[in-house]
Symmetry: C2
Subunit: 339 residues, 2 copies
DNA sequence: TTGTAAGCGTTATCAC
DNA sequence: GTGATAACGCTTACAA
């Protein structure tokens, strides 16, 4: 029932279009690729021919001739299984796909096969792709930081090493953490703790710094800090330690929602109320945020936007346009019931 | 620090290999493609040349000449955002990638852009890919069932329409449901209800059928059935209706774990105990299964294996090998605490 | 501005 | 079994 019923006619080629339009193949090529100067008259007749023939350029031929592949690879880190089920990853990919859909580029995924990363490396460096997108959750720790020397590469999040030479887009973690903390201060809290993320990854460091600077700006103490590893249980452990210090504490900024969830359980288990006794603000605005009770006030992490921006940056790089090495996406405070 | 330091030398071509090995390009091509008959002596010398030059065939050229792309597309259904965050989808992809990594095929994703599905169609039918993989969660409802007429296509799950002409791999839903029910019967239960899935999608139908046949084989009644839509709340609603019938009921088979979760809440709310008063078995073995309390006994749904099998089937189709239209993957009972 | 023609790196069809 | 040689469909100097 589709449009191609009874269609065994051969795929139209550039040559056929040229013939139909009565021009040379070169001209058709120019029109198709939006070349700067072609007689508008001829151009339109070519376009008509393209329409009626339903012509679509052959990628392989184009690639072979131009040495451009119009393909960008999404490099999926080693531990495929986990990474893929990670909503962060999924959302980034969604953003990437969304942007790429507005361009001529195709997305292809290569999971850097545990088997042989060398195969992946060869594929990438073997002229099969125009650029690479590297996604690796919170951790900036990936072994592909040297890629950008040979191929346009964009990272999700500031790479731990070689950041100075890398193109990447990250969320403005420091600003977000600062906004979260300010919310607490404005709410009248004066003894504001934090459950920080790992200090060996950028988001962990930056969010701690944001909390600290907001506090210092307000003339408050930054002594109430414990570190977790972004998991729910680590959040609970940290909260417990915080409470066991026996110091006044009326609010806590958790560096991500999962740790906030852990903090929730401990706070409740001690018979304290949220937000009356202790106000809580998280970071990420992930699934946990709304499923917690009371609903968590948190910092929205624009993940899909991050993916879109990464793709946009990469295309700019590929096409040789000037581009900023660093893109920092703004976060926003989502006020719910915990602070 | 990588292997390509100081490497500005051009990518080796088939021609260079031929020169180095002292044979014709045709021979090199034969060796590289594992052609049936080439003098083993020459072959090895070619292989040596390939090694030393670190030759890798150029995909575009190969595609142009052979009219094979060595690329398979994973078609992501309309609602990208949701689908992608769905662990089912993620896991299928993982399996697909795993299999493809053992072959020469590349995976490329195209999200059938809401914008213009026509673009997608043209891409697929325009000779850019060798085959397509269509994934659409439980529902067999996708508008791409006609694709297989023009391109090797494999579906995840039995398509609702045109199933007779489609290649697909599905989990053996009926057998699984039957096993779940048998578990209940063997546990001494005699009044076994079911919370069935939607009857307009294959898994819903098949799982209901499995429950029914197990019951009938045991000489038990199949009157205790209510239908949900695979969501947690629909499970709760169905359970409530079941209980409100006022008939004896000592066990329930939920067609998926989410509905089982819904049933749990109602059972507890009525002051009944699991499994003492009512035993429960689910289906899918997803995240809910272990997070419920008591842990849910359920049917394991081999999702990654499904992805692997899909990819394998597709490659067989592409390479013209004989292949079964239908592949049914076995499920397994995972015994935990609810039955 | 437009056309001519030379590739791009393989595979495939032939003779040898 | 092996080697010329013609495609494959498009881009891109270079000429006109």
């Amino acid at each position: 029932m589709s449009a191609e019923s009874g269609a065994d006619r051969p795929t139209p080629t550039l040559e056929m279009v040229a013939a139909l339009a009565g021009v040379s193949r070169a001209t058709v090529s120019r029109v198709v690729n939006g070349a700067p100067s072609v007689d508008p008259h001829l151009a339109s007749s070519v376009e008509k021919a393209v329409q009626t023939l339903n012509y679509v350029p052959n990628r392989a031929a184009r690639t072979l001739a131009s040495r451009r592949t119009y393909t960008v690879t999404l490099l999926v880190p080693e531990s495929t299984s986990k990474v893929f089920a990670d909503p962060f990853f999924a959302t980034v990919v969604e953003g990437v796909a969304r942007y790429l859909n507005t361009t001529d580029y195709m997305l292809n995924m290569v999971t850097s096969s545990e088997a042989n990363p060398e195969k992946t490396r060869r594929y990438l460096l073997g002229g099969n792709v125009d650029g690479v997108l590297v996604v690796s959750h919170h951790s900036g720790d990936h072994s592909w930081t040297q890629l950008n020397a040979s191929l346009p590469t964009v990272f999700a999040g500031r790479p731990l090493v070689n950041a100075a030479n890398s193109y990447f887009v990250e969320v403005d973690n420091e600003e977000g953490a600062s906004a979260a903390t300010s919310r607490l201060i404005e709410g009248g809290r004066r003894h504001i703790a934090t459950i920080a993320g790992p200090q060996d990854m950028p988001p962990g460091v930056d969010r701690l710094q944001g909390w600290r600077s907001a506090l210092l700006d307000a003339g408050l103490s930054d002594s109430l800090a414990e570190t977790g590893d972004f998991t729910v249980v680590s959040g609970a452990v940290a909260m417990r330690r915080l409470l066991d210090r026996g110091q006044p504490l009326d609010a806590v900024f958790a560096a991500n929602d999962q740790m906030a969830a852990g903090a929730y359980s401990v706070i409740k288990e001690r018979g304290l109320r949220i937000p009356e006794d202790i106000a809580v603000v998280g970071f990420d605005d992930d699934l946990y945020a709304t499923s917690l009770s009371p609903a968590l006030t948190t910092i929205h992490h624009p993940i899909a936007a991050l993916g879109e921006k990464m793709a946009e940056l990469l295309v700019e790089l590929i096409e040789g346009r000037a581009a900023e090495r660093i893109h920092r996406l703004p976060t926003s405070l989502v006020v719910r019931d915990s602070a």
